[in-house]
Structure formats: structure tokens, C-alpha cells
């Protein structure tokens, strides 16, 4: 498998919605 690693996740808000089976991304997540 390909792997989306943590360096590329920096400053993104990454949202895990296991109940609805979806994964969200937004820029500028730490500010």
C-alpha cells in the first residue's frame, strides 16, 4: 500500500469520522 505519512499531514486538520466512514482534511488546522 501507499502510505500518507505524518510529514505531509503537518498543519492539516485531519478528521476521522469512523461512524460515517469518512476522513476529512482542512488547511491551517493548528492555527
Amino acid at each position: 500500500v501507499g502510505i500518507f505519512g505524518n510529514t505531509q499531514q503537518k498543519t492539516l486538520q485531519v478528521v476521522y469520522d469512523g461512524a460515517k466512514g469518512r476522513l476529512g482534511f482542512a488547511s491551517g488546522g493548528c492555527s
Binding site: 505519512g5 505524518n6 505531509q8 476522513l23 488547511s27 493548528c30
Partner: protein
């Protein structure tokens, strides 16, 4: 010219290196169900004080490669606890020099009654939460926090071998559980030979002062080998029913979010539940399930752009092996065909800068020592559901030094990996 600027980052070279002091953000502290996320080896981490044991960047990348092999091995075959343990947690092989991956990001949680704070690597690529436990019947590595002492916790108890919960370890760890004096024995073994083995137990987990979970199931490690950088264990955020999101589903509905900080000298957050406040700009992509890898969070990569230019990669290149998102892997791994296209486009658009020696698995490195600012092409990922993920400028490079700044992507061994 305007279009060219739109597709490039301009960054101060000095900002590529972390500060020596922690620049903490207070944002996460405003939320009741939020934990502060820090880089394991940065100045915001308590583990940072143990400078003698901080690995080099080359060592971190080798550990990262070992983690990737571990992940790939989970798809290739199923392990068995019998490889490392029969019935007795005290009679297990100890292997030196093993690695579990560099992990990198840690949070602090409380365990037991009264609670003891533990710095745990948070990991969306595994399920079981475990910590080292006294009396460390076989082996414990050096950690910063005092090792958890079950006998001092009034709410601690072992899980019985005959319990159905014990049998559920098989899917969470990939290994059948063991039994020692009627106590359930878990074993989690990684592809690089590092592992944790111990008693499967329950105790009170305190994520924050208000979010407390009695009877949280976790591994109380009696034999632990690996380079965990002084962390007390792992916080398993995978999709199995024994993972933290599943065990706390009644309160958080398997919903959590995080932001990893831009550098080792700043902080991010890990928030559980809907109440954490999600950005209005968040875009959702469907989670995909990968056969033999149901614990992982699968994503469907469709394409990539570099500097606004779409890479000539067939969608089938990405779909052949699938993809996952993992908080514990440092460097994104791509199918070789995709990586070659990325590398070629990136090098072409960075041709004005002198290249530097490769760094471990990273083969596209630059020497920025003669520059105060650099402009670099933006990189976007396209996921199913019309989701565009723009990679932050800090997420494009892995910085060893200003004279060795490397494109932070690497290829898998084969397009079908």
C-alpha cells in the same frame, strides 16, 4: 507570473529548522476533550531532555522504513503469537536492536487510580493501547515517565484467559492471545521484530480531567523491545474494536481529529468527539477498507499536482496497491511509478537550486545554505470525493540541515505494494 506564484511556496530558509524553545499554542487547551500533541524529540516534549538518546535523522528514516516494512508485512501474512510466546510472558525471546518506527508524535494521558501520567506515541496505524508495566517480568526499555505500577492502582485488573474479550485480541494484534496463570496475554509484534508482550488488562483511562473512561482495555507490557524514544508506550487509534476510538465510541462516536505541528518546536492537538470544533473548510473523502488491513484507515488517491501541473500518472497506479493514512509513518510512500513522476517534476521545477547528497531513503535533496528564501512548487493530492489536500510547505521537505533539505517522499518497492 501570477499563476506561477499561485503554485509555489516562498519560505524563509531559517524557518526550516525548529526553534530551540517551545512555541506553544493555547488553542487546544480551550477544549475539554483535547490533548496537546508534541514532537517526541522537540523542545515541547518532556522526552526532549534525554538528548543523548535522540536518534539522528538518518536513524529516524531507517526506523521509518522498518515501520513501512512492518505495515506491508501485515498485508502479506498473518503473524502468530506462537512465534514469540507460548503460555508464559516471562519466557519470551528478547531481541536487541529492533525498531518499531520513529512514531514521532506523543500525547499525555492518565492511567489508573490515582492516575499516573504517561507520554504515549499516538498511532492511527495500530489498535492496541499499551504501556510498559512493572515488574517488567522480562524486559522494559528506558522511558521518561515512571513505569506504570498496576499494584498501586485500585482500579486495575487483569483480563481472564476465558473471557471473550481475550479472544478479540486476535484481530487487534494479528496474534492469538496467550494465557499465563489464567491471565490473558497479548502480544503485538512488528515486522521488524520489535514487540510488546504482557498482560491484557483494564483500568481507568483519563484523557483529560473531564473525560475519564473506567475499564479501558490496554496492554500492560512485561516484555517490550524497540526504540520508542523514551515514550511509555502507544495509544492505538486504529479501526479495530479494541482501539481507543472504538472503546470510547459511546461518548465520541469514533470521531476524532488532530493537527500535527509545523515543527518540532510548536504544538498541535488531538481532539476526541464532535465538540472539538472542526474547520468549516474541511472536506471529506470516503474511508476505504483494504483487504487484510481492516484496522487501517484506507484512502483512495486519484492524482497529484506539482507546481500546478498534473502528474502523468494513471489512476490505476494508485489503485493497484491502495493507500492508507498513518500518523506513525514519517515519510509518504508512493507507488514507484508515481514517485518517479513526482521526483521528475519536482527536480525540474527546482532546477535553479543546487542539489545535495541523498539522505537515507530520500534521493532528492538540496543545499539551501546560500539562500535566505527559496520558492518551491506546491504539491496537492487529489482523493476520491473531489477532495484536494494541499501539502503545507513544511510537509514537502525533510530537513537534516540547511545544506541537506530533502523532498519528503519515497517510493515503495513495487507498484502493487
Amino acid at each position: 507570473a501570477a499563476a506561477a506564484i499561485q503554485h509555489r511556496h516562498t519560505i524563509h530558509v531559517s524557518s526550516l529548522l525548529p526553534s530551540s524553545i517551545c512555541q506553544s499554542s493555547a488553542q487546544e487547551l480551550d477544549k475539554k476533550s483535547s490533548l496537546r500533541v508534541v514532537h517526541k524529540h522537540g523542545p515541547c516534549s518532556e522526552l526532549h531532555q534525554d538528548k543523548a538518546n535522540i536518534p539522528t535523522h538518518a536513524e529516524i528514516l531507517l526506523q521509518d522504513e522498518a515501520r513501512v516494512k512492518s505495515i506491508h508485512s501485515k498485508f502479506a501474512n498473518k503473524g502468530s503469537i506462537n512465534d514469540i510466546d507460548q503460555n508464559d510472558a516471562a519466557n519470551l525471546p528478547a531481541k536487541d536492536g529492533s525498531v518499531v518506527g520513529s512514531g514521532n508524535y506523543i500525547v499525555t494521558v492518565g492511567l489508573g487510580s490515582p492516575k499516573k501520567d504517561l507520554n504515549l506515541i499516538f498511532d492511527t496505524g495500530s489498535d492496541i493501547t499499551w504501556t510498559q508495566c512493572q515488574p517488567c517480568a522480562r524486559s522494559c526499555y528506558k522511558q521518561k515517565d515512571p513505569i506504570f505500577e498496576p499494584s498501586l492502582s485500585s482500579s486495575y485488573s487483569n483480563i481472564s484467559c476465558s473471557s471473550t474479550i481475550c479472544n478479540s485480541l486476535s484481530s487487534a494484534t494479528g496474534n492469538s492471545p496467550g494465557c499465563s496463570s489464567s491471565a490473558c496475554v497479548y502480544g503485538i509484534q512488528y515486522g521488524d521484530s520489535s514487540f510488546s508482550v504482557g498482560f491484557f488488562a483494564k483500568d481507568t483511562l483519563s484523557l483529560t480531567s473531564t473525560d475519564v473512561f473506567p475499564n479501558f482495555l490496554f496492554g500492560c507490557g512485561q516484555n517490550n523491545q524497540g526504540l520508542f524514544g523514551g515514550a511509555a508506550g502507544l495509544l492505538g487509534l486504529g479501526r479495530d474494536k479494541l482501539s481507543l476510538p472504538s472503546q470510547t465510541a459511546a461518548k465520541y462516536f469514533k470521531y476524532f481529529s488532530y493537527c500535527l505541528p509545523s515543527s518540532a518546536s510548536s504544538t498541535g492537538f488531538l481532539t476526541f468527539g464532535y465538540g472539538g470544533g472542526v474547520s468549516r473548510s474541511v472536506k471529506f473523502t470516503p474511508l476505504s477498507t483494504i483487504s487484510d488491513g481492516t484496522s487501517f484507515y484506507g484512502i483512495d488517491i486519484i492524482g497529484m499536482t506539482v507546481g500546478g501541473q498534473k502528474l502523468p500518472i494513471s489512476a490505476s497506479v494508485f489503485s493497484a496497491g491502495g493507500a492508507i493514512i498513518d500518523s506513525g509513518t514519517v515519510i509518504t510512500r508512493l507507488p514507484p511509478t508515481a514517485y518517479d513522476a513526482l521526483k521528475s517534476a519536482f527536480r525540474k521545477q527546482m532546477s535553479q537550486y543546487p542539489m545535495a547528497q541523498p539522505l537515507s531513503i530520500l534521493d532528492t535533496c538540496y543545499d539551501f545554505s546560500k539562500y535566505s528564501t527559496v520558492t518551491i512548487p506546491k504539491i496537492n493530492f487529489f482523493l476520491s470525493g473531489s477532495v484536494v489536500v494541499p501539502i503545507d510547505a513544511k510537509g514537502i521537505f525533510y530537513v537534516n540541515s540547511i545544506s541537506q533539505v530533502c523532498l519528503a517522499f519515497a517510493p515503495n518497492g513495487d507498484d502493487t505494494d
